[in-house]
Subunit: 390 residues, 2 copies
Amino acid sequence: MTRLFADRMGCVHRSFVREILKVTEDPEIISFAGGLPNPRYFPVQEVAQAAQKVLSECGEAALQYSTTEGYLPLREMIVERYARKGVKVSASEILITNGSQQGLDLLSKIFLNKGDAVILERPTYLAAIQSFGFFEPKFHSIPLQEDGVDLQALEKVLLEDDDARLFYSVPNFQNPTGITYSLDKLKAVAEKMSGGSTVFIEDNPYGDLRFMGEDRPSMRNFMGENAVLLGSFSKIVAPGMRLGWVCACEEIMEKLIVAKQALDLHSNYLCQRIVHQYLKDNDIELHIAKIRKAYKEQRDFMVAAMEETFPESVSFTRPEGGMFLWVTLPEGTSSLDLFNLAIKEKVAFVPGQAFFADGGGSNTMRLNFSNSDNDRILEGITRLAKVIKG
Amino acid sequence: MTRLFADRMGCVHRSFVREILKVTEDPEIISFAGGLPNPRYFPVQEVAQAAQKVLSECGEAALQYSTTEGYLPLREMIVERYARKGVKVSASEILITNGSQQGLDLLSKIFLNKGDAVILERPTYLAAIQSFGFFEPKFHSIPLQEDGVDLQALEKVLLEDDDARLFYSVPNFQNPTGITYSLDKLKAVAEKMSGGSTVFIEDNPYGDLRFMGEDRPSMRNFMGENAVLLGSFSKIVAPGMRLGWVCACEEIMEKLIVAKQALDLHSNYLCQRIVHQYLKDNDIELHIAKIRKAYKEQRDFMVAAMEETFPESVSFTRPEGGMFLWVTLPEGTSSLDLFNLAIKEKVAFVPGQAFFADGGGSNTMRLNFSNSDNDRILEGITRLAKVIKG
């Protein structure tokens, strides 16, 4: 008997990056491939104290079923942090999700019919391509420039496909490129999209990890209710608890709640209570400052090592924050071939082509600097330079 | 501007039960409406100890990203429990999900094209109707008899629609009816389905909560790889951690992992580690025996109160386990009208019609006995009898 799967399964495959990460499990390999935060900066003690407090003070409640929307005091804390950053939203506009990744599934579910258009940055976050892919959309990939998407290309797509449902963007320290939109570019994108029905998804997992330069405003301030924001505790507290959120206007939120309820009733309530307690008893801004300082050092160290050891024909981004650098090799070089050579030298990265929904990018690669300490960075970059030089 | 949502949003609505639960939040109302376990039997102290151990011994690892499949030692424990119940599966056939509810979304995603047939019991678990509903299937509802589905009706559907993709069943102490399949009925269903491509989903959240009678074998033993099992820690440990699992053969599992990865990368890892530690340090079977004893008393108490106070024209199930009773009122009585009267008397239940995918059931209601202590049960049933008698 041949088992019958849904047609959509023809379009989606096991993540290439996931397979790569398996190769890099060998502890001798210095891996710049993953997208992991540095566990050294997880607030383990503080989370343990919060867990103890929650379980001793209100254990029965914290272990019971709860509301689909998420724990209200936690949602209120998220609203307060938005307010401090100049974004005015209410707690009824926040839905706690199982990591912000889940927000992509929920938004796809409520917005996408098969064949509907989704606008992506080129390159873009691989798992977003996968998440949207389950809903069989048509992708439009808009090339990224140093300060955000190419406006002419965006304009062309908006003219051709005026009913694109979603535009997915990571405006700050993008995954994979590390690029941040300029203020002018944000305004120009909002201007081009105004009057249309395309929803702008601002995925902002790294926004708090700015090492240098000035914070940019949220697109919510330019696009109002046509901007949906995704946020996450993964990079500022810890990813293992899988807690993120969607911030959307009430009309969209009403649909998201219906979808979330059918999907998994609600997100892990015990961890919602733990993170709430942690945020109540600790200064998260102080903690984030510590992470920022550490990542800046790691980023500076990696940039310096690359400047010293990489050939001039290789260019790379110098991100103002986040966790990733993006490397462009000379035209015609295959980063996939290079990957196989690099593994022999015990160093790993992600070949860039996985991040292109429409193919291409074979001469690019993504390097993660958040999950390696300085000595590993220096050694790894030295090995990588050797491989690149051939 | 009118916002454009996906067509599927026309078919799905906020859960009726969810709205009902809001009405019943008034603490003066004795509610038999929810489907909550009794928090008195949550192992709060033991979970707190497990959390402390995990965070002090391997905090950094427990707070980091992890594998999509879930924590291997936890999956191995699930496999061992299955083995003790006579179900032979391997850890590679277990995927940890965000509650077993999420398993329904993942299975829908990998199996259902729009318009594909899904076979349901009539009545069935409301949130399953909602979860499948997002994938726009065609439903076939097979009436439930005292010992499981009506075989003739099943045969008719299988003949008419020989490519039904999924058959969703809760064989033990079903939600909402409390009905359990007989051994003969299980075998007969497997026999009728043999040779077909329909996947049987055995959702078994209450299987461990048997008060009387004998355990039934899993359909996996009769249908092999055409049976997919859903399990949950919600009723035997606690629901707030949202940990369940799917057990499926490797061909199906491969697809489920791709879907889970796109959906939320992996389930809450900290809580996977906590539940694993809890299971390692405590005797779960002893704990379950305690819950079983308590729920049996509550069930007996409710049944006795109903036998004493309800008119003879009202019939109800006497489940051998689980959390629910199912009441059938005289033909022509509206349980929805009764609900409004009951609320005035400060007692609540779920009107049964919500559990029928194809309409009907207006003279039925679901009563939960797990979440009320004996004095509340007696008082609530007395109030309800008064309302029924009019």
